[in-house]
């Protein structure tokens, strides 16, 4: 019997609890090792997620004395002009991210990947640097460059008799400014994604196409672009999710102003939840955004035909 074997092995009788442990420790130990993560996740990850879902159906100030409000918070969202404005601004940024940042980063990747460009490592690192920069530093730099009176950009424009442009205080311009800052920040890392995709394309395809008489444009159109589809999906999804989480930059740069012209959804959630202490409504917005992003992501995956490359 295993008990007697174990007892005889260690040379003395075992208490039942210890015996139980000796027999099961190999099976249990791995779970104990990974349990800290799950305990922390349950307390600080899952519990807030579930609790905020409950909160989204309640009303009241802060976390005390809340009353059940049914779908009131969700219904209110449809008539809330500020929420509409935040959605509009965030969508502008998302479109800017997809079209502008996605497009420019692809061009950049193609350029760096070209045989004509030397010092590829240097360019890759240089364009990647803004990603490493703290958003606070980005804010400080952007504020100096985009200032209406003393900014570098308006100074440059004045040399060609243009401006001054109120980059950060004109409601019609401010989102464009934030997209431009996003362009500067995120183009480098997106270019790296594209480059990874470009390097993964087998050169045989291009050689075969060249033998068949395909030109550069035709090779790009019918070989490069289709084979980059999984990367394109990744870049687009990243851009969408990142855009709808845009928070620190508008908070620091404009505070969401002027007149909500740069208010983003995340900033509005923060505003409602932490500044006005309207946590029920803030939770409802957060959940709507979660489902909105899930839906948009699903549509994109469908549109791009999934993660697989053509022919896989």
């Amino acid at each position: 019997m295993s008990t007697s074997t174990l007892a005889s092995r260690i040379g003395r009788p075992l208490w039942p609890a210890r015996e139980w442990w000796w027999r099961r420790q190999r099976r249990i130990a791995p779970y104990i090792f990974i349990s800290p993560f799950f305990i922390l996740f349950l307390i600080f990850g899952l519990y807030p997620v579930i609790y905020s879902f409950v909160l989204s159906f309640t009303k009241g100030f802060g976390f005390e004395e809340r009353s059940f409000a049914g779908l009131t918070n969700y219904i209110h969202m449809f008539s809330d002009e500020r929420f509409g404005m935040a959605m509009r601004n965030t969508t502008i940024y998302a479109l800017g991210s997809i079209v502008l940042i996605g497009g420019v980063s692809l061009l950049l990747a193609l350029a760096i990947n070209s045989r004509l460009v030397p010092w590829k490592g240097f360019f890759r690192t240089a364009f990647f640097f803004p990603v490493l920069t703290s958003e606070v530093v980005v804010f400080v730099i952007a504020a100096r460059i985009l200032d209406e009176q003393y900014g570098l950009l308006n100074f440059a424009l004045s040399k060609v008799n243009l401006g001054p442009v109120a980059w950060l205080t004109d409601p019609k311009i401010v989102m464009l400014s934030i997209v431009l800052i996003g362009l500067w920040t995120w183009t480098g890392i997106n270019a790296l994604y594209w480059m990874a995709g470009l390097n993964a394309i087998d050169n045989d395809y291009y050689e075969a196409a060249a033998i068949d008489g395909a030109g550069r444009w035709q090779s790009f159109r019918y070989i490069t672009l289709p084979l980059l589809r999984p990367i394109a999906l990744f870049v687009v999804l990243q851009a969408i999710i990142g855009s709808y989480n845009l928070f620190a930059l508008p908070l620091l740069l404009t505070g969401g102003g002027p007149s909500d012209a740069s208010l983003t959804v995340t900033l509005y959630i923060y505003n409602q939840g932490f500044q006005f202490f309207n946590v029920g409504y803030a939770s409802a917005i957060a959940y709507v955004m979660t489902f909105f992003l899930l839906a948009v992501s699903a549509i994109n995956i469908k549109f791009f035909g999934g993660w697989a490359s053509p022919g896989e």
Binding site: I43, F44, Y47, Y51, K59, G60, F61, G62, F63, E64, E65, H76, A143, R144, D147, E148, Q149, Y150, L168, T169, D170, P171, G257, P258, S259, D260, N271, F274, Q275, F276, F277, N278, Y281
Partner: protein
């Protein structure tokens, strides 16, 4: 096993958060935790700036000397937003928070939403016989709600007009300005002669509108805490500000560093604000202008009207969750009603106190070099009784936000927009928000 309630979990989270915050701070200092060292009680004081803590530490030393209390204070400084957020959470969780805290004026309304989390100081102030010794618009009004006083401030934030006397003198601008009408005449002439602006218009923040509206007895709320954005006083101020831009003698205020440059170069030659503005920001940000500033009362709107207002400030509050409420109140009220303690803050930050008897000390009225030898304290004492009462509301944040977004900024950027209509829209949104939140 007892059921785990939401409050219990919140308490645990709050305590964990406070421990992490406190622990990291102590670790940052490189010293050992100072808890449970002796038999004495230990009160905890949270703040968001070391400058305010410094004078209160000195005040506590004085308190210990005079009262020989059986407690010590543990001082903890956290970043502004983090401190107020954690204060709110720990107070609601009834665990892990401090006994005393600094609360900035714009953060205070969050603490009076629903159950008020602070102790009412009014009765004790009255029992001490100090109630009538305070300049209430700065000392207690910003921390008052429904006739109870939940905090007390030591900063007498009487607003004055600070002006670059060197530039005014050179341009021949009269320093005997009594009314806003007279000011406009001088400003127009100044702009015509120099191309610069006597004053700018603050259009991304409510400060200037607030001061000029409060001067007339208006403000964000009435005595019952109802929003009054579209009051006649508010409409008059916004119309005046809009006219200033339309008539070309004023300009919109630049933001950030460019504003400091404008003041330094004299492109804008004056500003409205309290001591944290003229003694604080101006002296810190443009020290090169030392000796070039003078102060004067704010021009009146009408004969006999107020020549000042109050803006901003930080108050000290005692938490209801404290185990040592009496001890905490005793110290907080001591430091705010003891001239010697209050003078520490004047020496450290050039803050004039809200405690009237303190002004009998000659130190407060001594000539100041930064203001070309002007006796600023005399001026502050002269105008302070004229500060009109400002009322608070739990919906301060929602109201000021709607005001800036829907009235101030759009009306100043679009001069065709009617100030009355813009303020009416802001008022309506505020009322709708309050209804939604309280329904």
């Amino acid at each position: 096993m007892a059921p785990v309630s939401r409050r219990t979990v919140l308490k645990g989270a709050a305590a964990a958060g406070a421990t992490v915050a406190g622990g990291s701070l102590l670790a940052g200092c490189g010293g050992a935790p100072n808890f449970n060292r002796g038999a004495k009680k230990k009160l905890s004081f949270w703040a968001f700036t070391d400058t305010r803590i410094n004078w209160q530490k000195k005040a506590f030393e004085l308190y210990k000397k005079e009262r020989n209390p059986d407690f010590e204070i543990e001082w903890l400084i956290l970043p502004y937003t983090q401190m107020h957020d954690q204060l709110l959470i720990t107070a609601q969780a009834e665990s892990g928070g401090p006994d005393i805290a600094d609360v900035e004026i714009s953060q205070f309304p969050r603490f009076i939403k629903g159950d008020v989390l602070f102790v009412d100081l009014r009765q004790k102030l009255e029992e001490m016989g100090e109630w009538d010794n305070l300049y209430h618009p700065s000392a207690t009004d910003p921390w008052s709600w429904q006739n109870k006083v939940y905090g007390i401030g030591n900063e007498l934030n009487a607003c004055l007009l600070s002006y670059r006397w060197d530039i005014w003198e050179k341009a021949g601008v009269s320093t005997e300005i009594e009314s806003w009408d007279h000011f406009v005449e001088e400003a127009k002439r100044f702009h015509r002669d120099t191309g610069n602006y006597l004053i700018d218009q603050q259009y991304l923040d409510w400060g200037q509108w607030w001061i000029m509206t409060l001067q007339q007895g208006g403000g964000f709320f009435d005595a019952k805490g109802q929003p009054t954005l579209d009051s006649p006083e508010g409409v008059r101020t916004l119309s005046w500000m809009q006219d200033a831009i339309r008539d070309g003698w004023s300009t919109l205020r630049p933001t950030g560093v460019p504003y400091n440059i404008s003041l330094e170069q004299g492109k804008v030659a004056s500003l409205l604000g309290p001591s944290w503005q003229f003694s604080g920001f101006v002296q810190q940000n443009i020290p090169g202008t030392a000796g070039k500033w003078h102060l004067m009362p704010i021009p009146r709107w009408e004969p006999g009207g107020s020549r000042t207002g109050t803006q901003g400030g930080t108050g000290v509050a005692v938490l209801k969750t404290s185990e040592f409420i009496e001890e905490a109140m005793d110290f907080v009220l001591f430091e705010h009603t003891t001239t010697e303690a209050l003078l520490y803050d004047y020496e450290l930050r050039q803050v004039w106190p809200t405690y009237r008897p303190a002004f009998s000390d000659p130190k407060l009225t001594e000539p100041l070099d930064f203001f070309d030898g002007q006796r600023v304290g005399d001026l502050i004492r002269e105008v302070s009784p004229e500060i009109n009462t400002a009322y608070m509301s739990p919906f301060w944040g929602e109201t000021t936000s709607a005001f800036v977004r829907l009235a101030l900024t759009p009306a100043m950027q679009n001069l065709r927009m009617s100030p009355r209509e813009a303020l009416r829209r802001a008022q309506q949104e505020t009322l709708d928000t309050i209804e939604f939140m309280t329904a």
